[in-house]
Subunit: 373 residues, 2 copies
């Protein structure tokens, strides 16, 4: 455990949408009951005005900071959340919940369908970013929080942060979307589609009903390998691997000769142990459907008082800088107070998890201006 | 048939390396007999000084120009080869041969292994760009051509054009490597590795011995989809597809909602009909092994009189501009006469097949200065 870790944290569970009061989804279908697994760090003040919602990325979960009693792996944004850190737990009450559709404790395709007693599998309805946010809104209500101080996240998390501002401008003071977009470009959809095809092409996927038999390992591993290439940059791969060989010489066989090949295989097959293939399908589809461009963003609001900090990274080619600039342009049209930074980094899309120093400086300053009462 | 087409062409076959005089490969293994399928356009002059070797890309073949009697599909560089075109068949004798390791008439993993009477499959030895060029050299010898006027190609074809200059500087006057690199970066290796993993993860691949049963369709289709994303640019995908839907509304199902998804699936599964999965493995591995950087290029030549025209495309992120600039830097160190252009195009890596007008102007001028006697 790092010296500045917030220490041992415990995930909690919140359930809602018990039938017949199920959650109406954007697709028109209903879902319920719904469980959200979440963690909190810091303390909710008396006025309940210091809550920050952290939204996780595609393969993330509710474990954003600290360590679990039985697992010393720090949360995925541990360097950003804690005493004196960007999301300072001396000042703020930080909440992070696993998205619906996921597989880390919140209701998703691998959860038990109460109608059948078996995992939903493909009977799980398609969910959208709006549905994920709607579920989070129930959690915020449960805490009795009228207004979030801020919603923040990178990538898929940034989409949620944007959707919060768009759907509930009266319930959020600030939004920090990082390395994200108002909508996926065809290239982003294409990568996600190939990821889905890779999973669905594996016979072990069994049309989604594989839970009794185990994961479609090969399809999911290849899918994740594709993802990993898009998370890194040409330069960060060059710095990490260059053309370094695993052994002294080329093998002249179909085995991994280069370190980068071994790395990808390792990351791909490791992912199979920790992430449900169907959740990968559902969440990538939700990202592809997401579209807050033009009039979709705050459709009935000509002006907004929500304040924004938008951050992108120069080497991020999966969510390129121009997409964050599109966000900023749209926000300016809504007369929103918007601060934008395009940070220098060689880490590609992964930068939002790595460039902690720059993010800390920006987020700290930004939050200082909207501090709770 | 286009008006300016060279008309009906016929593929030819050339065989060599009959055992025991087999071809010694870079891996140390031997291969033979070897068949090359090739096409020629224009006429070899008396001095045999007007021959241009066209080298094809990963999924290309010997059919570079004109049409076949029974198939009206024009050759893959039809707009560049013909009377009055960049490779002017009034002036030049143009040769294009399918690479060894391929599946379009030259010896590759799907060819019959004379030792077993069955397709080689994975018993086929790994081949390299050097081996491909060595096979072409036998074809050039067969024509009695002492010195090629030029070797030209894009992508994998550009690697061959570079290797010709490096391995046989005395047998080539000029080289035109387009949209290529001295060596694959880890990102390029990574994409190829995921492509290979996708094929090899398909149980229908059967460890490579699938020929009695048919292709590993799903794995190969997904592999090709990955390739297609890397051939296009973010911008060209935006122009072609944007977020256009196939139907009026989102389906909220796992089917292709967006046109780009349908396009990728179509291209992926169409590829299965025309290209052998093992050839995809062998050729991508040859590309990953290729390394003419530093002292690998013309190792014993301090100076070279081979002349170069190097072309890259600004939107090509698979073979980015900086890799062509690396080629130019190396050539300058060898005191080579080198002309370099970084062409403006939105087509990404595919640009070398599409930006005919610019290529024609550059190639025509370049060749005019090294015209045959």
């Amino acid at each position: 455990m790092k010296k500045d870790s917030i220490g041992i944290v415990t995930p909690h569970v919140f359930s809602f949408a018990e039938p017949p009061a199920t959650l109406k989804l954007e697709s028109g279908r209903s879902l319920g009951p719904i469980t959200l697994t979440y963690e909190t760090y810091g303390r909710l003040n008396e006025k309940k005005s210091n809550a920050i919602l952290v939204c996780h990325a595609l393969s993330g979960d509710a474990h954003a900071a600290g360590i679990h009693k039985d697992d010393k792996t720090p949360g995925w944004w541990d360097d950003l959340i804690g005493q004196g850190k960007a999301l300072d737990t001396n000042l703020y009450f930080v909440i992070c919940s696993n998205v619906i559709g996921g597989c880390k404790g919140s209701t998703g395709p691998s959860s038990i369908n109460p109608d059948t007693g078996k995992p939903y599998a493909l009977d799980f309805p398609l969910i959208t970013i709006a549905d994920m946010v709607e579920a989070q809104r129930h959690l915020i209500d449960f805490f009795g929080i009228e207004k979030l101080l801020c919603a923040i996240g990178g990538s898929l998390g940034g989409m949620q942060a944007l959707h919060w501002a768009s759907a509930y401008p009266e319930r959020i003071i600030a939004s920090i979307p990082i390395a994200t977009a108002l909508k996926h470009s065809p290239q982003q959809i294409a990568f996600n589609e190939v990821i889905r095809q890779s999973i669905m092409a594996d016979p072990a996927w069994r049309n989604g009903y594989y839970y009794e038999h185990g994961q479609p390992e090969n399809g999911l591993a290849v899918a994740r390998m594709i993802g990993h290439i898009t998370f890194m940059s040409d330069q960060s791969m060059e710095e990490k691997f260059s053309r370094k060989l695993k052994n002294d010489n080329l093998s002249f066989q179909f085995i991994d000769d280069f370190e980068v090949e071994g790395y990808l295989r390792y990351r791909g097959y490791n992912f199979v142990k920790r992430f449900d293939a169907n959740s990968y399908l559902y969440i990538t589809k939700a990202m592809d459907y997401f579209d807050l461009s033009g009039d979709h963003f705050m459709p009935e609001t000509k002006k907004t008082i929500v304040r924004f900090l938008v951050i992108s990274f120069k080497s991020d080619w999966l969510y390129p800088t121009y997409q964050s600039q599109d966000i900023v342009r749209l926000l300016k049209r809504k007369h929103a107070y918007t601060t934008y930074f395009d940070l220098t980094s060689t880490y590609g899309h992964d930068a939002f998890l790595i460039e902690i120093e720059d993010e800390t400086r920006l987020i700290k300053n930004f939050l200082a201006n909207i501090s709770p009462d």
